[in-house]
Symmetry: D2
Subunit: 311 residues, 4 copies
């Protein structure tokens, strides 16, 4: 995979489950066909958002195969292959490559928290990158794993020829700046928090892996393009408009929220897998309102822009 | 499994790995044969300490089968079957029962932290307990999972006929008291922190699942017996003697520490699985000193006791 | 102050405020006269519980003078003099000594959290202890200050001739064991968590500074005596009985809870100082029930005891 | 004070202490005379950065009087008057107003953490704002206080006619967006984290109270102006250049770092007050390098700018 392909907006797609709690590849194909038609840079399957933590290896394989079939060559197709043990992460990465992954996104192990030192992370990722047939992206999601892949570790790992970038899910923009400035030339830092996506790009992130990109792909992509092309005032306005929706999807309602919102707008992605539960109706109504509100403001402002913030 | 069997000291045994990073069932059988000869109440395989989080389902099956073969009927043989998804936890519990588990110890799911409410835990454990052919123990380990199975959830779950007890790994003795007082008659709360094992029994825990029980089984069992029989002064002295060793094994060096200490005293349990790494030599020396120190003080005091604390 | 006087139960008394939000020394004298009549070892004024953090230096002086007047010589009278700056802590300690304090209890500074290293604590306490005319007790309350006075710091400070002990407010019994084993001969570690008071004494604490000692002084003192004299089974039973009340007073309702409970049993200690607010009536009812429940069980069991725990 | 004056960059100036640990108003006047000559919007005395937590009321009065004398009318002069008790905060606010404060900045009380609910904050700030002769700014600094003044509380308080704005010290840009969108028209949210100052303005903050504004006032002011006037590409570049310096001053070295850096560039602001200690020489060298690096890059880029980010 060419490094340049890692600049842009990537949709971390959910995995549809049927009512019998089984992976539903038909629904996956149908939804993904629609996402592929949007101007998104690329796709992540089996990320945190894809409930990969709740799936076994067979289900993972089926999901990769079905998704790869829909995503055209040339659009980056990235597969989450993080596992707690080094050998399982290697095995998953090889299998993903075999099934057509362009790159793998490898979440930090985090079970044995006190043992997860920078040395341990460097050993783990070096072993995975040495063995993976396709490029590796590091993946730090402290809020879920309870461990932090520090800039010191990333700096060392960014020198590995098969480690091409990372996803930093946290919203601490200063840590993103540290990651960018401390890593090797050409290493890509992708942001995972939509509320601070613009700010992250301003300090050097080259793109984002953003749950709302499944829901409002055009807006997310437009935010990226506006920023890259220096139309900051418009970017800032769009960023502000995205925040309420992003906050609801991320910290508040998580995967059940994203699935509910997608179902609202006609993507049929089924229900979350237990122990996750479908969102209660009151929360669905709140998402419906936020979506309507976003559509309204985004439409109103799409054709007008000033260079000045109102301060 | 008779409820009464859940009073006592259980050893959460480590899983030996060979130098090629594969499960080594020969070493497992050899070590377990020695443990079985000690006066331990029962055994846990595939717990946190057993690096279960780093193993796949096939390896888990082989480990259960090998261990069951060594542990005589009548000694409680409990298998860790916690998984992130409800269906995987059910599947693992059924498989463990098939391979001879007397009960299963089911760690809380914890990946999607903000979704892990009391409602979610009650749904998850109820489904597992409904489906499991053998009794279920709840398992709360907040320091590793980042979620807390609160007394309110335990209270409700303790009424389920197939949920017979729990392991609480945290050292907060007041939370243990709450768990005991809030749960149904006959529900067993087992402590997971050796440093506060005596204190936990004093507020109603009926036993412990204690990593040091692999290393100094007789002392751990003696602490249990002394406490149960009301020989508190001796129990207190033994508890104090155990603390330095327990602190090194638990929060400081974790699984690599336990494996290193076992290798020191002649149990051949191999190395931890990557990304865990063997303990550095300086730390091994520290463990060796703590073991020697413990043996010395424990021997000195085993035959003498006063009823008075020196305050 | 003789070191031996630091073994026992100390009541950290609240400071009464009148309806006009002023210190009410009449109420203070009246309540303290009653406390002095109980078998408590000694008294703490201007501790956390005394709302010292909400009082100015003039009010502090008046409170010390009024309290000293009531507490007879020979009963340890300890004054809280923690301040954020070293010079203010020294000044407050000198003033307390002048007004008759037998010792001072100096809470860690904690405002500039990242700067509060072991070196900073050693400098701070050494300067205070060098300057204080009366013995100094260290005071660690991580839950309120956000900083932790580690065993390594305590170990060094325990060698200072004018530092005679410490209060550790946290309930981590293993940390108390570390503090005891790491500090100089004759250094007293006093526990601050009632729920784990018995457990703390079992690992070497020589007493406690316990909010419930204001409310049920005889019971707290009896728990101390039972433990010291090796009547562990009775101590354990009493400890268990105290836990529900202690949990309500400590983490749940704090100072407003203690004042409300005291008012319930006829100690007139007024209201908390804003921004603290009086407890709502529903919470007062809960405290009333816990008090009644405690009285009932404590009375029932006071004359019977077995040497055996029911496990 | 006119609301519009709260848009801009404010310097939270340190309080100089002499070698005898006393407030040194001569040094304060000299340094402040130089700050006043820079294009800063206004000044904060006795903020966190001013070591107000380490000073008594007399010292505070002297500091306010000396500073007011130097700051010309028309430049906002804001005094920190946060105290733990409501009445002390009121008293300090009145005294500050008497000595010439244009507004007061009132940090949340935070000692009794579990009691600091939204209700408690609303009561506290309402009482202070009712009583204060000058406008009140709320002040949330969770990393130091351990409590969080949530958007829900701010929303209610922003309706008070004498509460004109707030300082949010945290770097969570999404929380800043929530504060802006939830508060009354005309309420000013000022950012306290320099690394995310640009991002905070992009979501609606109207300015900042920034420690680096003491050190590189022109650059901080230029960042504000560039952003306000829609020169985003230049703003983004300048923001990136400021981050390394801001990170060293803030989370890493705190007040001792700021004082050391000011001494390096010729502002004589003395030493921090114990228990704070002067920065070790190695850290001073690191700050010197960061300052030199900043000067170099800032000069190089001051006259060139493109509209495009390099992504």
């Amino acid at each position: 995979m060419n490094h340049m392909e890692l600049a842009g907006v990537f949709a971390p797609i959910p995995t549809p489950f049927a009512d019998d709690d089984q992976v539903d590849t038909s629904r996956l194909r149908a939804a993904l066909t629609r996402w592929v038609a949007r101007p998104l840079t690329g796709f992540i399957v089996l990320g945190s958002n894809g409930e990969a933590a709740l799936m076994d290896d067979f289900e993972s394989d089926r999901t990769i195969v079905a998704a790869r079939d829909v995503v055209p060559r040339g659009r980056p197709f990235i597969v989450g292959t993080g596992r707690e043990s080094t050998q399982a992460a290697i095995r998953a990465s090889k299998r993903a490559a075999e099934h057509g992954a362009d790159a793998v996104l490898v979440r930090t192990p985090g079970f044995f928290k006190t043992q997860m030192t920078t040395e341990a992370f460097v050993r783990h990722y070096t072993a995975v990158a040495d063995a993976s047939p396709v490029p590796v992206l590091l993946y730090n999601f402290t809020a879920l794993t309870g461990v932090n892949l520090l800039p010191a570790a990333v700096s060392r790992l960014s020198a590995h020829p098969n480690i091409v970038g990372m996803k930093e899910s946290g919203g601490d923009v200063a840590q993103i700046a540290d990651l960018v400035s401390g890593s090797a030339e050409g290493f890509h830092v992708l942001a995972g928090t939509t509320s601070t996506f613009y700010a992250a790009m301003c300090v050097g992130a080259t793109g984002g892996i953003l749950a709302p990109a499944c829901l409002v792909p055009d807006a997310c992509m437009r935010l990226f393009e506006l920023t890259r092309n220096g139309h900051h005032a418009d970017a800032v306005m769009l960023q502000r408009q995205l925040i309420p929706l992003a906050r609801l999807l991320g910290p508040t309602y998580g995967v059940p929220g994203l699935k509910a919102a997608l179902n609202v707008i006609g993507y049929d992605v089924g229900v979350p897998r237990p122990p996750l539960a479908p969102l209660p109706e009151s929360a669905v109504a709140q998402l419906r309102d936020a979506l309507a509100q976003f559509e309204e403001t985004a439409t109103a402002s799409a054709n007008c822009s000033s260079g000045h913030l109102v301060i």
